[in-house]
Symmetry: C2
Amino acid sequence: MVTQTRQSQRRRQVLSRERIVEAAVELLDTEGEGALTVRALSERLSTGSGAIYHHVGNMGELLQAATGTVVAGALPPLRAPAGSPQTPESTGSPEDAIRAVALGLFDAAAEHPWLAAQLAAQLTRSPWGAVTPRIFESIGRQVRALDVPRRDWFATTSTLVHYILGATAQNAQTPDRTGDGALPGSADERSEFLDAASRAWRDLDPDDYPFLHEIADQMREHEDREQFLAGIGLILTGITAGRPSGPPGDHHGAG
Amino acid sequence: MVTQTRQSQRRRQVLSRERIVEAAVELLDTEGEGALTVRALSERLSTGSGAIYHHVGNMGELLQAATGTVVAGALPPLRAPAGSPQTPESTGSPEDAIRAVALGLFDAAAEHPWLAAQLAAQLTRSPWGAVTPRIFESIGRQVRALDVPRRDWFATTSTLVHYILGATAQNAQTPDRTGDGALPGSADERSEFLDAASRAWRDLDPDDYPFLHEIADQMREHEDREQFLAGIGLILTGITAGRPSGPPGDHHGAG
DNA sequence: ACCTGAACACCGTTCAAGT
DNA sequence: ACCTGAACACCGTTCAAGT
């Protein structure tokens, strides 16, 4: 029996910050980055533009909140869920946990094409806002678990975070919509993009850009995720190679 | 024939793409990111807004050009200057050359506070536009010189570039102008910023953010450049540790 | 060809007025 | 307290009209 609907969902739920942020994410996902305007948002929520400002302050705060919720959903929970003694990522090796966190962000950026630009913007505009600490904490815990000397915790974690955000920002990209062929976000579109980029490298003056000419093919054929993980692996190798008590005969960094 | 028209600098030079880009950089440097508008630009150039569009297409292209010129000035020349057989950076070790390129960008971002955001935006919006290839070439040449196996050239270079851009984006930042005390860009301002960020970390719930609580002090006291270089060092260690040949003496990249 | 500058179609944000 | 929506002060971009 459906007649017992107390909250009349038919008309309109009460406006709330949560509902606004949720609608913003939907708008960004479905209509793209440029479609998030106060007007579009208030129309979708069947309210006036001014109503938005009763809950969110301004546009930048809204974007930050939208980014924050998506990022939070892409990372492991900060606390162990009630009942389980450990957080999920603490069961495997720290290396694997770092890879999992990194891939979580990477995949989220692939799913939400606007996310990469927002992560980058947040990095520069208000680095210590809401999302950077979240990422920093998730990575840092694993760095600590890697036997990195305490004095290197911040530098090591920063290196990983900077790489992850930089790589995520670049990889989740497709060309400026020209309305060509493939579906947005499809593998086809990505491969068209890489094709075009590879051609662009080959069109550069070979005297100025000899290296780009040499790796234009490699660039076209690379797998995004695989290469992203290769970068993580490189940094992890650097971290463990530099640790104090390693395998016999190993050297340690003399900072 | 036109008889020696000496450019009368008093009145107004002919409008050109170059002059517009130059004026844009000045505007960004002196008035900040939000001050670059077509109207402000055309006023500074004593021309009409429409004139701008005869030379630059649109705002995004202008920002890209501005970023491009600053980046080009911050990196070593692509070709050796006439007369010298080598590019300057090829005299030392590849590691040092990589550090020099990275620091060039890092310092440019410190000098031009708007640059970091633009680099990040360019990374995401049109990754293969004008500036990314430039950086890629400069780093990639040195990667090749490091005896990295050919098949890893692209992945290795990408890792370095992503880290450099991510770290540059974050480090060159100061808080959202609150008109507080210190001079913009000064060491004082940076230290005020780190102070505030450190406090923000300490204000987070310690049950959710135990790691951030542990390194809040380290974060406040870190030196930007030093830490940036530590990250480069970590990656370089990962690169050289992963190289194929073990025996000291001769190792050449195999096919 | 190059430039002018009013006009257009948007923005984010505010605020008196409503409930 | 919460919401409305017209109004304000901006944007980027266009384009008939000038030189």
